[in-house]
């Protein structure tokens, strides 16, 4: 057997390179992350981010490149670490909701729902049917909101500028709905433990109907621009493939997992907010590449519209907040004449309600995947521990597997297709 003497490792030169990339790790740790070829100087170490137009925020990647081919792609996260989980421990249950808005800020309602669902499960609250249906409508709109930003930025990264402008145009329609119901364009905090903050205004129905009317046509427009576009196909088909087993092993969920052919959707597997009342399909792919992820999400638009249509038609009348006064504030008119209600109102907003001791996990299917909340109560009005199972964090993990062997330019498409939000990754 012919043995080749390996090029001696030039430790000094490498240490300089480690300082160049300014990672918070030691040289020994870096050695384990890159291939031996990097140590001999055969491949190149390169930094990408955290300020980079197509890392979707402040993701930083350390790339090991052989020419233009990616050998290793090591994510360095934490540039947006906000300490939300820790901050939540010092707030009452109600006041955690605005923080959840700010984790995955493209899907605020899904986060609200996950947290409120966990609180409801811990305290044991029944939610009125009207509130559940309205939640479903809003959650599906949120999914569309999240997917629209994904489609716009993903297309922008690959080079289709106009799609971005169209998507943002449609997104404004959904933001108008948010604004009508909650008063805020993005940070809604509209879903509360026990139901909704208030009933939706009448204009809500017109706005939703407008989305239902307009959107299918716009969807055809996007498809025309992209799906059969040879350039789009060149950049997406066969790029960033992952098998179903690997995707499950890495903890991928949402469209990224479904693109590999696994039919897992929290809405079907563990229905919440009466999702089991509605008839809808789970679109799946076969190859698990960038193009399949794209196709899955595009089909989800249609399914979302289908669910909204059903929920709107079958929306029952009734209250939108539970009658359980433990968590529900007394109605305003009662405060005017009842001393007890006034005190109760005051206590509820200052001290908050108490949740029993215990630990619950509640997950929803947000636009990006399974968004779960692990909530641990200690009998007081503040949680002992809140943990968010952020889909973006888990979907980001296999980036090395996805990117390895592809060209540097394809990495941009891969990052776009796994649809990460750094607020969700770092929290």
């Amino acid at each position: 057997m012919l043995t080749q003497t390996p090029t001696p490792v030039n430790e000094e030169a490498l240490k300089v390179r480690v300082e160049d990339v300014q990672l918070d790790i030691t040289f020994e740790q870096l050695k384990r992350l890159v291939s031996p070829r990097a140590l001999t100087g055969e491949t190149m170490l390169m930094n990408m981010g955290p300020q980079h137009p197509s890392t979707h925020g402040v993701l930083r990647l350390l790339l090991e490149l052989d020419g233009e081919t990616i050998v290793n792609c090591i994510p360095d996260i934490g540039y947006l670490h906000t300490g939300i989980e820790k901050t939540a421990e010092s707030k009452t249950y109600l006041k955690v909701i605005p923080l959840t808005d700010r984790t995955d800020y493209l899907a605020p309602m899904s986060n609200n729902m996950a947290f409120c669902g966990a609180v409801e499960k811990l305290v044991g609250i029944e939610v009125p049917l009207r509130a559940q249906y309205l939640r479903v409508i809003l959650l599906e709109l949120t999914r569309m909101n999240s997917h629209l930003v994904w489609l716009g930025t993903h297309a922008l990264d690959i080079g289709a500028m106009s799609v971005f402008l169209y998507c943002m145009r449609e997104r404004e329609m959904i933001l108008d709905i948010y604004e009508a119901v909650s008063g805020a364009r993005m940070m809604s905090s509209y879903i509360r433990p026990g139901g909704l903050w208030r009933d939706v205004p009448t204009v809500f129905f017109d706005l939703v109907r407008r989305v239902l009317d307009v959107f299918p046509k716009r969807l055809i427009e996007y498809e025309k621009l992209l799906t059969k576009n040879p350039m789009w196909k060149d950049r997406t088909v066969g790029i960033g493939k992952i098998s179903a087993q690997d995707a499950i092993a890495w903890g991928m969920t949402g469209p990224c997992l479904r693109a590999t052919g696994v039919k897992y959707d929290v809405r079907k597997a563990y229905p919440y907010s009466s999702y089991d009342h509605f008839d809808f399909d789970i679109p799946t792919g076969t190859n698990g590449d960038v193009f399949d992820r794209y196709k899955c999400r595009m089909e989800e638009f249609n399914q979302s519209l289908k669910i909204i249509r059903q929920a709107l038609d079958r929306l029952p009348p009734g209250p939108v907040m539970t009658s359980d006064r433990k968590v529900a504030p007394p109605p305003k008119h009662e405060i005017a004449y009842s001393m007890e209600s006034l005190i109760h109102h005051f206590k509820l907003w200052t001290e908050g309600f108490k949740a029993p001791e215990g630990e619950v996990y509640f997950a929803v299917e947000s636009g990006k995947g399974e968004y779960g909340v692990l909530l641990s109560g200690d009998g007081s009005s503040k949680p002992r521990r809140v943990h968010f199972r952020a889909p973006s964090f888990h979907n980001l993990q296999p980036i090395n597997e996805l990117a390895r062997g592809h060209l540097l330019a394809d990495l941009v498409a891969i990052i776009g297709s796994i649809d990460i939000v750094l607020g969700d990754v770092d929290r």
Binding site: Q51, H81, R102, Y166, R169, E172, M186
Partner: protein, 160 residues
């Protein structure tokens, strides 16, 4: 067309160099393409279809700090990000301006904790603070107009 008709036959405008330069600087500010958190999404909306920042000659976001003269700090700055932000600021050529967009960038916002820099003015000088969580696109545009006002009044001497 328009301008020539207004000027009549004169063909000459008198103004000070300072004012001309100040005016020119506001007409084509190139912001740094630099999104941090939720506010960055509203910054994107400001640029996109409905609010259309190109009305102010600002549609061109530059990803390289060396080509931009306005930094919109859109979002919360974590302690890990702070040195990077400062480095980006240092890389921008003079004259340069900074807008702190949103409560987080202005004062820490809802995150009064260990992870977030309590106001980006701890690390870079800020010209305009835009309030809101996130500020509506109109609010951001208002902040930009305020900055334009400020830039127009800046003396030329400062940059010597």
């Amino acid at each position: 067309m328009g301008l020539e008709q207004k000027l009549g036959d004169l063909g000459i405008v008198t103004t000070t160099l300072e004012r001309a330069v100040g005016w020119a600087r506001t007409r084509a500010m190139w912001p740094l393409l630099f999104g941090l958190a939720c506010c960055a999404i509203e910054m994107m909306s400001t640029q996109a279809s409905r609010y259309d920042l190109s009305r102010f000659g600002m549609e061109l976001m530059r990803a390289s700090p060396r080509q931009s003269d306005l930094m919109i700090v859109a979002g919360r700055v974590s302690r890990k990000m702070a040195p990077v932000l400062r480095q980006l600021y240092d890389q921008m050529p003079d004259p340069k301006w900074v807008i702190a967009m949103g409560d987080c960038a202005s004062c820490g916002g809802v995150f009064n904790n260990y992870a977030i820099v309590q106001g980006v003015d701890e690390i870079v000088p800020v010209d305009v603070y835009v309030a809101g969580c996130p500020p509506r696109p109109e609010t951001l545009i208002d902040g930009i107009m305020k900055l334009h006002e400020k830039v127009r009044q800046e003396p030329l001497k400062k940059w010597q």
